[in-house]
Amino acid sequence: MNVEAIKDLLYKMADDQLILGHRNSEWIGQGPLLEEDIAFASMAQDKVGQSYTLYQMLNELGEDVPNQVAFMRKAHQFHNAQFVELPIGEYDFSLIRHFLFDTADYHRFDMLINSSVEPISLLARKLKGECRYHSMHADSWIKKLGNGTDESISRLQSSLNYAIPYAFGVFEESRMEEDLITENIFGGEIALRERWIEHVDNVLGQTQLILPDLALESPHFGGRYGEHTEHLQPLLDEMSEVISTDPTADW
């Protein structure tokens, strides 16, 4: 078993879920309508819970306990894609990010069901069922607002154009990508991106939104290797406020 490659894979998934979970939670009390407030809060809870389980798996592989790993690292030690750390912006951006990221998330877990690492395969089966609700939610709102008013369409289109290079950053390959693929741990980022493009294209095809020419886009890479935007550290500071003030606090 290639422990280093597995850890690398678990870290990026766990960090993505933790950071986007916290970003999603910022919609609590601010959603454009009550149902969306609840939806983003629920997805936040799912994602933070999922990250906890992934950190537990890392703990079993020798990493520190989940609370330490989640709250005591600095930005450059995080493996999340830059996409998930961006501020929530206005609802159009958060919705587009939810759609683009959760589509990838859903297909990632679907692929991981075939993982040669049994605990990963079992967990992926479970998470796929939960992420299916996230993906269905995103698809239905993109279809509604992507066929809505001139304003909803133009807002989503400009957020989409802005988000695509970041979304591509989600598929940044691991240093141990070949090991992951040849040992059947994970089918790989390129294969995942192909499935993602197909899904995204299919949904956008049912709207008036236009997928930018992907060949012309240069991805915002770096997140998987600890390079982050200026937005991550302030978020981490906020998340760890309690534990930093009193490391023995129980909450």
């Binding site: 149902e35 609840i38 939806a39 809060a41 629920s42 997805m43 809870q45 799912d46 994602k47 933070v48 819970g49 999922q50 906890y52 389980t53 605990p119 079992l122 967990l123 089966r125 479970k126 998470l127 069922g129 939960e130 299916r132 609700y133 269905m136 939610h137 239905s140």
Partner: protein, 162 residues
């Protein structure tokens, strides 16, 4: 005392442990108890969460332990795992009728995968009408969706299929 512990007895005790957020449904009827093994040393129980992020999980584990302890079982080991996974299809018939009485529409049985269509026209737990619509697949807890009944004109919650 230990020699009197039998599987039916343990199951009966476990039926006393309820879901903390839906106090009419036992953990056994909810389907989150996946295995019970009795040995000379005590009782070993396998549990699995409904949702990975369910904040009630730790509470349920402690509840199982303290309930069995109070029945005289000294050694109770609870293992939380995903080996046997929870699906809403695991909720027993007894559990389903308890949910309905509690005002929560029970999840429909499904084959293979959940699609948004099976959330539409969920029977209203109050008037049984299927003239209902899904408002949002997310609700006050991770396991609930919100619907609206056009017949009795009120919102209701559903334990959602997963």
């Amino acid at each position: 005392m230990e020699s009197m512990i039998t599987l039916p007895k343990v199951m009966e005790w476990l039926r006393e442990v309820k879901d903390p957020e839906i106090p009419v449904v036992s953990l056994v009827d909810l389907g989150v108890i996946t295995d019970v093994a009795i040995s000379d040393n005590g009782v070993k129980i396998n549990m699995t969460p409904t949702f990975v992020g369910c904040p009630a999980m730790d509470y349920m584990v402690n509840d199982v332990k303290s309930t069995l302890n109070s029945k005289g079982v000294e050694n109770v080991e609870v293992i939380v795992s995903f080996d046997k996974q929870w699906s809403s299809n695991n909720i027993s018939e007894k559990g389903r009728s308890a949910l309905k009485e509690f005002g929560l529409a029970p999840p429909p049985h499904y084959d293979r995968i959940v699609d948004i269509e099976i959330l539409e026209q969920t029977p209203c737990p109050y008037c049984n009408s299927t003239n209902t619509e899904l408002k949002t697949p997310f609700g006050p807890t991770l396991c609930r969706a919100i619907h609206y009944c056009n017949n009795c004109k009120q919102a209701f919650e559903q334990f959602k299929p997963v």
